[in-house]
């Protein structure tokens, strides 16, 4: 079935184009997820602190945060890339390439992570918060030692979800010359009428999704 030389042909693309893009994808994804987790966590902390049913409700502060989060989320990611390019240039020194893609990806993923973590924290039983209050825990301690502790499985599941979502989003990073599997699938595969590249990269994306999901599920189960 498979014509002679197909594997050589396949290998040529795999080795030259797909393989390097796997690394690029993994680097972009892991770095941007790491930073957006941290950023999202901090935002979620304050959303939970000042939120309407929060520990120290503060309408105006919550409004500001909510506004920030919502406004970033309203940018289609490709447009976000352009909108923050002056900042990207300041921070990273360039607006092209892998490193320049990480900042907008992080910025886009941060409010998403913030909502994911906020939603998880909101699910914590209020009686536990009261119990912590009863022995004089500070708001910081209540969030960190009670709410976060109790919702770790939820946060893990949410982070798994977010990671897979942003794996697909790294495709957009191709726009700023960052490469990545999604961009390869799009440019070298789909647009070049090259099904070999297209399906190989989608297959690799699929394997990545599976691995992320499995790792997430394993962590969830282990941690539960």
């Amino acid at each position: 079935m498979i014509p002679d030389g197909y594997w050589a042909y396949w290998w040529r693309y795999f080795d030259g184009i797909i393989a390097p893009s796997i690394g690029a994808t993994l680097r972009m994804l892991s770095v941007s997820m790491l930073f957006s987790f941290i950023g999202g966590f901090i935002l979620a902390y304050f959303l939970i602190l000042y939120g309407p049913q929060g520990l120290r409700p503060d309408r105006s502060k919550y409004r500001v945060l909510d506004f920030m989060v919502s406004s970033i989320r309203s940018f289609p990611i490709i447009i976000l890339i352009v909108a923050i390019s002056p900042i990207t240039r300041m921070v990273v020194g360039t607006t092209i390439g892998e490193r320049a893609a990480i900042l907008p990806l992080t910025v886009a993923a941060t409010p998403f992570m913030a909502r994911i973590i906020e939603n998880s924290l909101r699910g914590v039983d209020r009686q536990l918060i009261e119990a912590a209050r009863s022995f004089g825990a500070s708001d910081f301690q209540i969030i960190m030692k009670v709410m976060v502790k109790e919702s770790v499985p939820m946060i893990v599941a949410g982070t798994t979800l977010a990671t897979i979502t942003y794996l697909a989003a790294t495709t957009v990073a191709g726009a700023v010359g960052a490469g990545g599997l999604g961009a390869v699938a799009l440019n070298y595969g789909y647009q070049s009428f090259n099904n070999t590249v297209l399906y190989t990269s989608v297959m690799i994306l699929f394997i990545m999704v599976l691995i992320i999901q499995r790792v997430g599920d394993w962590l969830y189960k282990k941690i539960l």
Binding site: R12, Y13, G16, I17, I78, V82, S85, R89, G93, T94, T95, I96, G97, A100, G174, A175, V176, G177, G179, A183, L186, N187, Y188, Y190, Q191, S192, F193, N194
Partner: protein, 246 residues
């Protein structure tokens, strides 16, 4: 067309962001003739052509002829670009830092469009500029895999086509169209480092299914875009960015 065939004088014309105005003017010309024209805008990729092939639209102004021919081969279809062609774009190497190709240093970063036809075209530009040499083409397009020599160890960055112009500040040089350069930067589009010698080989125009080439509406459309009025509007809007065929 199948359902909304031109016989019924209902037309759907596809365009991209860059060609929206051109199609709009055609619509304005066809409407008084009793045509009911709907414009569908696509993102830049092969979907307009697919839609045309499938009969979901009746004509598009989106891709250049070279690409269309590849598409025909890949999809076993017969799209045809109506002659005379409408316009051509102007590709060139632009730079904020360097005036001549020879100035481009070792390890320079050059941003090029990442979509396959423009990537292929850019590689040829670079070859013509003497920056690289290429092997024989293996597929429809040249890819970075086809680079044979790269004496200056130039680093090619494949970006989205509009982003090449946007990133001119950050790169040593970019390959972009005059349209993008003049829209995004203050650079005079004629102020090139190296002009693409193939510019004339990439005509753009109204693409239709081959069976429609001689249909009445196409004839009307050609008449419209060849009219002085149309050309005047075109030159006013796209002056120095796109060039009409005479």
């Amino acid at each position: 067309g199948k359902s909304s065939g031109p016989a019924g004088k209902n037309l759907k014309l596809g365009c991209l962001a860059i060609s929206e105005r051109m199609v709009q003017w055609i619509k304005e010309g066809l409407t008084p003739l009793g045509y009911n024209v709907e414009i569908v805008m696509f993102d830049a990729n092969q979907l307009p052509a697919v839609a045309l092939k499938d009969g979901n639209v009746d004509g598009i102004i989106a891709n250049h002829r070279q690409w269309m021919q590849t598409f025909n081969k890949e999809n076993n279809c017969n799209l045809e670009m109506v002659q005379p062609y409408l316009f051509r774009s102007f590709y060139a190497i632009y730079s904020l830092k360097y005036k001549k190709v020879a100035d481009i240093p070792q390890n320079a970063q050059i941003v090029i469009p990442g979509d396959p036809t423009n990537l292929s075209r850019s590689l040829i530009i670079l070859r013509e500029a003497g920056l690289i040499t290429l092997k024989d083409k293996t597929g429809h397009f040249y890819t970075v895999l086809d680079i044979k020599d790269n004496p200056k160890k130039i680093k090619l960055i494949e970006a989205e086509i509009t982003h090449t112009a946007r990133s001119i500040q950050d790169a040593d040089a970019v390959i972009a169209t005059a349209y993008h350069i003049s829209a995004k930067t203050k650079i005079d589009p004629r102020d090139v480092v190296f002009e693409d010698p193939q510019n004339k080989d990439y005509p753009l125009g109204l693409i239709v299914r081959s069976e429609d080439v001689n249909s009445a509406w196409v004839k009307e459309a050609v008449k419209i875009y060849r009219s002085e009025q149309y050309r005047a509007k075109f030159n006013e809007v796209y002056k120095g960015q796109y060039f009409l065929f005479d």
